[in-house]
């Protein structure tokens, strides 16, 4: 499956990002060894100029890597046309043992890469370069993640063979399917909707409180709540909401909602969910930076905006994802 435009785009993108990060790693090592904002030496001044270019490149590289999650899912969907038994990205991802890990690493990467961009933005909005060491140390930790991301992607793509027989989403996410092939086997449906709406309500409550009065433990609670809600929402979309979108009780799939026949509603839902979760979680991630000189107001300002955006995305996500479900409950289906 290497020689098609999706694979080439994904691999090229991954290699370019890794190359840029490799260059940035050299700057990162110099920063960790020699960075001294008190010094007026030529080395320090050159380092200050160098990190402007490096940081901008890293910011764009990580931005591209975040967007590559969408390309990866679209590619997986495209591969399903050539794999026996696959009807959508689910079948492709399960066609070998690297598909699901590759997707999970990419999903996790969205948050880890995004947090670096937040750190960078906070840093360049201060006059004193307060986060240079921290963000370059973090950058060095991101490189193994990027290598893992790219390696799993390569193993997944090269491991896809047209003669593999895989399962389609109808089998994988069917309630009746037991055993290891059911990705959400054992997920209890009983409380899922109550938990979904309950957690959303609690998050809105905590978020509204945080917009009026900021308390450290509330920020941590809000972000932890978002982590829980993010995972819960992915499961609820798959097990509950998706079948109402497809208008087929036995069709449960987190990927088919990305298809044109469902008006790409999945993109809208996942965009809102990822953005909300990212802003919600980043509020706590940057909490320790409140005590860094020159960042007090920047961190407080970002946290306030992050809480506000996460609440807007939460409400939007809940409304869009629930639309077909409530429509069915209230007026009895598509007519």
């Amino acid at each position: 499956m290497l020689l098609n435009s999706w694979s080439i785009a994904l691999l090229l993108c991954g290699l370019i990002v890794l190359f840029l990060m490799g260059l940035a790693a050299r700057s990162a090592i110099r920063v960790l060894l020699f960075w001294n904002p008190e010094s007026d030496s030529n080395r320090q001044i050159r380092l200050e100029n160098e990190i402007w270019l490096t940081s901008t490149l890293v910011e764009y590289a990580l931005g591209i890597q975040i967007i590559s999650l969408i390309v990866f899912v679209l590619a997986a969907n495209f591969y399903s046309q050539s794999i026996a038994g696959a009807m959508c990205a689910t079948g492709s991802l399960l066609a070998n043992s690297f598909g699901v890990p590759a997707l999970l690493v990419k999903i996790g990467g969205v948050f880890f890469y995004g947090f670096w961009i937040v750190l960078h933005q906070l840093d360049i909005h201060s006059e004193q370069y307060p986060l240079v060491r921290k963000k370059y140390l973090y950058l060095l930790f991101l490189i193994p993640l990027l290598i893992l991301d790219l390696s799993l992607e390569i193993l997944f793509i090269t491991g896809l063979k047209p003669d593999i027989i895989t399962s389609c989403c109808a089998v994988v996410f069917d309630d009746a399917t037991g055993g290891g092939s059911n990705l959400i086997g054992g997920f209890s449906h009983g409380l899922s909707m109550e938990l979904f709406y309950g957690t959303a309500g609690v998050l809105i409550g905590i978020g509204s409180f945080l917009l009026r009065q900021r308390q450290r433990w509330m920020v941590v609670l809000f972000s932890s709540g978002w982590l829980w809600f993010f995972l819960l929402a992915l499961a609820v979309v798959t097990t509950e909401f998706s079948s109402y979108i497809y208008a087929m009780p036995f069709h449960k799939c987190p990927f088919c909602i990305l298809k044109p026949e469902y008006h790409y509603i999945g993109f809208v839902m996942y965009f809102a969910l990822f953005m909300g979760a990212f802003f919600g979680m980043s509020a706590a991630v940057i909490e320790p930076l409140r005590f860094v000189d020159g960042l007090e107001s920047g961190v407080a300002g970002y946290q306030r905006s992050a809480v506000k955006f996460s609440l807007l995305f939460l409400v939007f996500f809940v409304l869009v994802s629930s639309y077909h479900y409530w429509r069915y409950i209230l007026i009895g289906g598509e007519g």
Binding site: D40, S41, N42, I45, E48, N49, W52, I124, E127, Y129
Partner: protein, 225 residues
Amino acid sequence: MLIELKNVTKIYNQEQVNEVTALREIDLTIDDNSMTCLRGASGSGKSTLLAIIGCVFQPTTGRVSIAGKQLSRLPDRFLTLHRRQYIGFIFQTFNILPTLTVQDNITLPLVPLGIPPAEMRRKAAVLMERFGIAHRRNFPASQISGGELQRVAIARALINNPPLILADEPTAHLDSRLSEEFMHFMKDLKSAGKTIIITSHDPLVTEHADVDRVLDIKDGRIDAA
């Protein structure tokens, strides 16, 4: 104290075959509300020094502080804000845009600040009146005389009401009458509390009674104060 330079060195094209050391270990303090002249031959480094004080260039080593704030190493976006707010530049060739009107040239530094057009015109009108170019308000800059161009350049440097005025060889292309006029304007600005730094080797400037201090620059070093 307004301006302080410590151990400032500037090397162009560092580590290349055409490397040039323009300034060497400059230590300098310039007081508030003073007029200082940087005097030196062509290539002595005086324009480079002015550009470093004006945060246009970064020193290769050393630091520049203005009003107690370390400026030379601020990230670029903050330097831009600083330049807009605190520094007025008058260039040797004035750098007036010939296709814009006199008024539009003068209000140009206000454009990035998002000031309403009526307020920009009001500020420009005050300065045009002061420098006697109000009757040229709507003339394209290409159609006014050298003396008027000079006044437009001064008005443009003052439109933000900056506390620091930097003038790079401002009389190099002017006759003695216009040079006298220029120094008269500078004297008025000094009386209004501005700090003025002028690079020049024109005796009309360097020997002017209102110049508080003349610094001779030779081979990138300050010779005597």
